[in-house]
Each structure stands twice: as structure tokens, then as C-alpha cells.
Symmetry: none
């Protein structure tokens, strides 16, 4: 009835590590690299196995299927950034200093973790399908919004920031300024004929971002602000 019944496979073996934790971790790492560079549909299970130097079968053993592996990658990546964010201790510090650190942290994190940018893009391609379904990720609230809210309040009281700033808009803006530059640098470099990945270019962009954010946060000087506001076209 079944051809599989009387076969006897499995002969030689290159001696597996027998270190489950490690095997799982190695696969996950390989998967991060693959999904990062190819996206969800472009990633190949075979490549991941090869990269991990693991038997393809182990991927299914540990993660169920491609989707499961992708979700694990997503969770791992989100956990990493959330952990790093928690490491930022901004609560007691001077608001302007703290804000600057936050902006620079974000920029540096994006530079150092292209996998995060890439997975973010991939996930948005899928309209956040997996993110929405991962309770683990949804529960991993980013502490940043809370930190920002508190920083804005302290800064406003100290007179170094304007009042009334929406922390979510601010956070999105801080992320935007780095994300777009980095994730689109290939097309941008081509079009502008200028290597946006060069060390100095990155440093310059970092400064630019800080400036943009602080100009936005700065309280508008009484007279100067007026004229500047006058120059601003009317808002509809």
C-alpha cells in the first residue's frame, strides 16, 4: 500500500552537533539573513539550511514551516530592538541630551541592524499580516512612546521644547528620517550619483536628522517666531 513502508534510508552522517539550542539559533540566524536579503517569497528554505549548515528537515522540526520560521525571525528581530530600546535610560537626564541620544540611537540602530529595516519593509509588504497575528510581538510594546511623552513634557516645562507636540508623530518622524534614507539608498544613490552608504555620507545624514528634529522641537522665539510663522504659508 505504501512505498515508504519497506524502505530503509539513512546511511552516513556528517555528525550533527547534537546541540539543540545551538542548532535552532544557527537556523534562526541564517533565516534572518535570508529573509532580510530576499524577502518572504524570495527566501529559499534550501539556502537557509545551507547557510545554517543544517539539515533542511531541522527547519521543519523546529519551526514547522516557512511561515513559522518567518514569524520566529520577526519575533526575534522585534525582541532585539525592544531590548535595545529598554537599554536606553533616558528618564533622569536633561531633556535635550536625552532626546539627542534617542535620535542618535535610532539612527545608529538602523545602520547597525539592516535586518530590522528589511523585515519591516517585508512585513509591510504583507500588510503586517504576521505581525498582527503574533501576540508575542503585539505584547512587546515599545517603551519609546512613553519615554518620548515624558521627555516632551519635561522639556516643555524647562522651556527647551515647544508644548503640544504629538509623541507619535515625533517618533514616526525620527524613524522616517533614518529609515527612508537607509532602506532606499540603492535607488537614491543611483539617481543622485552619490554614494549614500559612504561613512561620511552617513555621518552627515545623522547630523541632518538631529538638526531637523531639534528645529522642530525648538520653542518658537517670540518675535523671530512670528516672522517665521508669517513666512509659513497658511495651513488649510
Amino acid at each position: 500500500m505504501d512505498a515508504r513502508v519497506s524502505k530503509s534510508p539513512a546511511r552516513r552522517r556528517p555528525s550533527g552537533p547534537r546541540d539543540p539550542e545551538r542548532t535552532r539559533a544557527v537556523i534562526l540566524k541564517a533565516a534572518i539573513a535570508e529573509f532580510t536579503s530576499k524577502g518572504l517569497s524570495g527566501a529559499r528554505i534550501d539556502h537557509i539550511a545551507k547557510r545554517a549548515n543544517a539539515n533542511k528537515r531541522m527547519i521543519y522540526y523546529y519551526f514547522g514551516n516557512k511561515e513559522g520560521l518567518y514569524i520566529a525571525v520577526l519575533e526575534e528581530t522585534y525582541t532585539a530592538i525592544r531590548t535595545a530600546e529598554i537599554g536606553l535610560n533616558l528618564t533622569g537626564r536633561d531633556p535635550a541630551d536625552a532626546m539627542r541620544e534617542l535620535v542618535e540611537f535610532t539612527w545608529r540602530y538602523f545602520i547597525d541592524h539592516p535586518e530590522f529595516l528589511s523585515l519591516l519593509a517585508t512585513e509591510n509588504f504583507n500588510r503586517a499580516r504576521y505581525l498582527k497575528n503574533s501576540r508575542r510581538i503585539r505584547e512587546l510594546h515599545s517603551p519609546l512612546i512613553g519615554m518620548i511623552t515624558q521627555l516632551l513634557e519635561r522639556g516643555a516645562r524647562a522651556g527647551v521644547f515647544r508644548a503640544g507636540i504629538d509623541p507619535v508623530q515625533l517618533y514616526v518622524t525620527i524613524a522616517s528620517l533614518g529609515f527612508f534614507y537607509l532602506s532606499n539608498r540603492h535607488t537614491l544613490s543611483t539617481i543622485f550619483g552619490r554614494d549614500l552608504s559612504a561613512r561620511e555620507a552617513l555621518a552627515e545624514r545623522g547630523q541632518h536628522i538631529v538638526e531637523v528634529v531639534f528645529d522642530y522641537l525648538a520653542p518658537r522665539a517670540k518675535t523671530a517666531a512670528k516672522s517665521s510663522l508669517a513666512a509659513l504659508p497658511g495651513r488649510s
Copy 2:
């Protein structure tokens, strides 16, 4: 009574349209939709054919292969935005007004053309492989950098903009503020528990972007600027 009424010449098209131009266009449109929603590796030739109500073979006839079709989509999309950019006539206008129009145009264009955002993301996923190889696209220079350069100069002379602003950084920033918000709204909405696609949310973001850009462009008021600069942490 009137012969014209029943004569209305709705010639039926039983199967093949036999209208080459139309067939090509329909396929291209379907391909834009497919590549936009699925990316390059996620797109399926079969789906495109179905969407276009065309025979799969025609795709090969007109575009060679999947890659050729993707390139055609890329060219079409880039041509469209470049054409729209040219339509913006900012040269003679008040610098602040013109700048505002530019910022708002960019934001609106991104909202109205999700396919552009999506293809940009896809193309960057591929490290701009196809863009780099398409002479047609590389020759489609964006007029914006030129416009911005000129606007900044005129604005600086008129005292409404600061001097010394890098037009490329500014352009990237203008694009960033809209692009990131829109292309990542699925994950952002999930994480913030706030519908970033809602009409009012979009309007709010538009205002925020204008504000950020103008705060950055505004000349720093003499005294106020000083204190504000003092508040700015030292640049490393």
C-alpha cells in the same frame, strides 16, 4: 424610430481583442498592480494574465519575460512621477509658497500612488539592480533637485530660508517623512493601535510634515536662535 439608437456599434469582442496597444497596456496595468502588492518574487505571471484577462503567452510576446515586464513596470512608474514633477511649475513663485506646494505635492503623490512607494521598496530590496540597468530610467532625471536648489537660493536671498541647506538632504527628508509613514502604516497602525490610514490621520500627517520642513528651513531668529542653539547638544 431613430435608427441611430439601435445601431450603436457595440462590436462584440468574443475573445481576442486584436488591439495590440490595448492588450499591452492592460497587461502593464495588471502587472503594476501585481508587482505592487506582491513584490518581484511574490508576483505571479499567471495572476497578471488573469488580472489582465489576457493570455499568458502575450506577456512573453510583449515583454520577453518576467524580468522584462518588471522593468517595463518600473519605467512606466518612474515616467509617471517624473511627468507629474515636471507639471509642478514652481520657478516663478514666492519661495515659501512654492516650497509648500512641493512638500504637499510629494505627500499627495505618495498617497495617490501607492504603486510608486511599493516599487521603490521592491527595487531597493533588489539593491536597485534593475534601476541601475535601465538607461531609460537613469536618463529620466528628476527636475526636483534643480527646482529645490533654485528655491533655496531665492528663499535665502529673500531671508525666508536659512542659507547653506543641502538640497539633496532636504529632498530626501521631504520624501522620508511621507514615505515611511505610508509604506509602514500597517505595522505602525498595529503597534500604535491607531489607524494611520484614516482620512484625518493623513491630513494631520501632512500638516506635521509641512511644519517639520518649514521649521528646518526657517532662518534662526537672532536671540531665540542663539538660545535654541545653546540648547542643542554639542555635535560630535
Copy 3:
């Protein structure tokens, strides 16, 4: 992004038949044979393709997937028996003759169509999952129950059959007597050490079935019946 993009497969070809009707039919025939001899889980798509001398891909082209192919096989097989049943024209004939023809038809059909027996077994293994979901099959009502009902009535009026016989029980019994013998002849032959597939054995079983059915249908003779009933142990 996608390895599939720039490959160019398809080189030689053994010249496909380009006769879709035939291709489909050949695949279906091969599938009937495979599912019959191996069951649903034991059947191999590869074997079916090879048997049909078709490209494996065509199975998916025509039937979607293995399950779809199995359902098509089920429908084909049921359609065949229902068609044969309709061919039986028993309505006008002498009830006993007609009944005998029905019994013999069933027996002969089972002998000639092992695929039907086999698929019946397979389908019951799956608790009729596919049958239940196939509207086409559920709508293929067997005409037999109607025929039997009418035959029983006519026979009862003519005094050749007992009254009050349940046509469904009778039908199930007629089928049982052949089905079990045929579908279990391998184990039975082994256990009894007697070849139940031999031509004479089959003929003998056919006579036995007719006898059993007619003894059951026969009106119980007045006196004889009494004593016979007396011999029958009390019904609980």
C-alpha cells in the same frame, strides 16, 4: 530577488499529444487504477503521471491537486455505476425475473469493476468525507431504490414476494453479499485455503446470492412457514 526570474528552462520535449480531452481522460484513468490499488494516501502522483505517460504538472493543470484528482475519480466512478444502473430496464418485466436480473447485475458489476469496490472502501475509510462534499455525487441518486420499491410492490401483489420488505435493507443486503466476498477474498482465500477468485467459485457465489435473496423474498408458505417460523428463535 527571485532565482526563478532569470532561468530559462524547457529544452527538449517528447511531443505532447495536444489533445486536452484525451490527456485529461488518460490521467483520470491512470488515477483510477492508482487510487484503486493503493488508496488515497498510498497513491503517488508520480506513478499516476507515469502510468498516464503525462507530465506530472498536467495533473495539477487539470485537477488542481491530489485531492481534486481523487474527487474526480470518485465522481467518474459513481457516474459510471449510476449510468449502468439506469441502463437496467426492469420496470415492465415480471417481478421475479427483474429481481433476479438486478441481483445478477449487481454481482457482475462488482466483479467487472473492482475500482468501484475499492473506492467505496477507500471513501469509507475517510468516513465519506469527499462524497459528502461532492454535490455532483450526492445528486447522482441511484435509481435502484425506486426500482426495488416498485418491484417489491408488484411482486407482493402478484404473490411472489412477501409484503413489508424494506427496500433499503434489501438493497444493502444484495450489495453486501457480493461486496464482502469480493473485496475480502484475499484474506478469505488465505484463511479458508480456497481460491475464491476462481471462475467456478465466482459462479457458485453468484448462485448462492440469488438463492439467499429469493429465499428471503419468498412468501412464507402457510403451514411450512409456520413450522419454519416456530424454528426461528424468538426475536427480542
Copy 4:
């Protein structure tokens, strides 16, 4: 208060039961359930291990391989029915009573032991391959044929049964009438729109079977039989 109460020696069994007999038995039981519901090719070693709450490796330790496990299941199941058959003590009793008991026993056994029906079907699917090779099973002769032969003789002498009945045909018929109904009840229920598994339906079928068997066994009444035989179409 009573030391015995809290001393109840529920020794925990953290992982391995270390009770070889029990482990083997538990695996066998799980295997019966799995093979019964999925057949040979549909059964999964993994599922069996899970069902048994045992380690997969133990299956190989105790049974060699899937085939060996299947054979053990087959032997277990056949041993069970043979044992039950031996329990039937019909030798000294009134032939009609004894026959009735035999028929009812068969019917009840089939109802109570779906695994037997299922394995019979599975084994026949395999053309009795494993049964043929199992000396143990082949040696497990069913006592029924002997019992039936003897019963028929005694009954014939007593005038309650016809003479000349083939015990094998009779046995097959008794089994048929129950087997087909039960093993095919899923498709039959669907097609007849009538729940054949309902308690009353089962009771009714049981009576029907008894009736069919006894009508067949009953000696044909002199005159009545004649007319009935006359009504019977000529045997070819």
C-alpha cells in the same frame, strides 16, 4: 489522621515509565487506533508515538519498523476475535438457537470492534500480503467453520435446516451482511439520507440479518417450496 490517606503511593512517573510490558501494550493500543482510522499508508509513526505518549524510538525497539508494528496489530486483532469465537460454546445446544447466537455474536462483535473491520479492509487492500506471511495468524484457525459444519448437520438431521448447505458460503454470508453495512455506513448514510449508525438502525439491521440467514436455512416447505421454486428464475 489516618496515615494511609496521605501515603497513597502515587509514585510519580516523570518521563519514562520503565515498565516494558506496559510501554509495549500502550504502543500497540495506539497503533491499533491509528491503523484503524488511517489505514497502513495513512498511519503515521509520529502520531502513534504521540497517542501512546511514548518515544518514537521505542516503537522501533519493540516492533522493528512500521511494517512490524502493523503485523503485531494484525496478530493482536485476529487473536482477539479468535479468542472471542472460542468463547462461543455452541456445540451442545439446539441448532436453531445456536445458529442464532452465532449470527448475533458476529453482528455484535463487528459493532463492538470497528478496528477488526477496518484492519480487514486494510489487509485486503494489500491483497492480504501481511496475513499471508504471518504464520501466527494462519495458524489461528477460526473454529467457526467447524462449528457451523456441525450445526448444519445437526440442524439438517433435526429437520430445522435444509441439507446441502455449504458452511463456507454460509459463514461468508453471515459476515457479509454485517460487514458491508457497518464498514460502508458512511457512504450509505450519505446516499440514503438515513443515519445507519443510529441505535435503532443497528437493531433493525441485526433482525434483518437473522431473518435473511434463517430464511435461507429453512427447509423448503413441500408445496410452498415448489411454487416458490417455480417462481425462481431458472439457474444458469
